[in-house]
Symmetry: C2
Subunit: 179 residues, 2 copies
């Protein structure tokens, strides 16, 4: 057996989300950590050997929160809101795509709406990456009860190998549920 020379790049899906503290267009600490880990430990200098597939799943409820005080007077207002949500998601992806572009790693990025854990597993089935990288807040069992963990669900249910990258302890915000 020989290590692969050239051929199809390894396709890594990276699930990313926005910061719960700063909101769009800021990436969460764990998303950024997972992305940087992938570059540093897997891609390394072999930029032509990999292709990163960024998936951002917008949670309808959460994303609508900022609009609680908005007044919707016409169907156009709703369209405007939806349009704005979409733009925010795109700005988040721009952060990752820009960095890939700078270091010369091929990538694709897209936004979906729904329950992140379900959508990520669905997209894995559809896109068939070689493996999936997800960030994880590294919460304890007590905290997990309240927030659920997307990473654990994906490790169990995604149809491809999954690697969960825990957030650095030094980067944990005051409330560890934040990210």
């Amino acid at each position: 057996m020989a290590a692969a020379e050239g051929g199809e790049p390894t396709r890594i899906m990276v699930a990313v989300n926005e910061s719960t503290i700063k909101g769009y267009p800021h990436a969460s600490i764990s998303s950024r950590g997972a992305f940087e880990w992938t570059l540093k430990k897997i891609v390394r200098s072999n930029t032509s050997g990999f292709k990163l597939l960024f998936l951002h799943v917008q949670v309808p409820d959460e994303d609508g929160f900022d609009d609680m005080d908005s007044i919707f007077a016409s169907p156009q207002d709703f369209r405007t809101m939806k349009h704005r949500d979409k733009i925010r998601g795109l700005h988040l992806l721009e952060y990752f795509v820009k960095q890939c572009h700078e270091i010369g790693v091929a990538c694709e990025a897209w936004v979906k709406k729904g329950d992140p854990k379900e959508i990520i597993c669905y997209e894995v089935k559809r896109v068939q990456p070689d493996f999936l990288v997800v960030g994880s807040r590294g919460l304890g069992p007590f905290q997990k009860v309240f927030v659920g963990t997307v990473s654990e669900f994906c490790v169990k249910h995604a149809d491809c190998p999954v690697i969960a990258i825990k957030r650095n302890a030094s980067q944990t915000p005051q409330d560890p549920v934040d990210d």
Copy 2:
């Protein structure tokens, strides 16, 4: 940020075991699968960027099974048996080390005795690899009850990112508990 150029190689620990069907020195289907996946999807042509750390944990009970019919007449007989077990483990590791050597990937390999899941997590703490690759038989929930799964334990408890590589469905032996 730039992708790492040179610098310390990424250290990947790969937990390997022998085939339950063929025994030593044959590697299990899932160990071999995890190893080949790591070369093909992660290392690729970047052979100088990675170092593989092969850990084989011998299970005292299982390994002693072949000796059930042996007659131990002196302390020397026990020493001989222990020596033979060790040799078998080394032959297993030789399989992996030889392939790494042929393609030019740095590696280290060693044998430990004990409960694989506990020892793997202990060795992760001690050796601090960048991540751990474990093969998995991909058993269903019913089969898992009886055999336990080292991979699931490591995903939960190892002090580093873990990627579990499921055995190919086409490589499943008649009894899926075999490997």
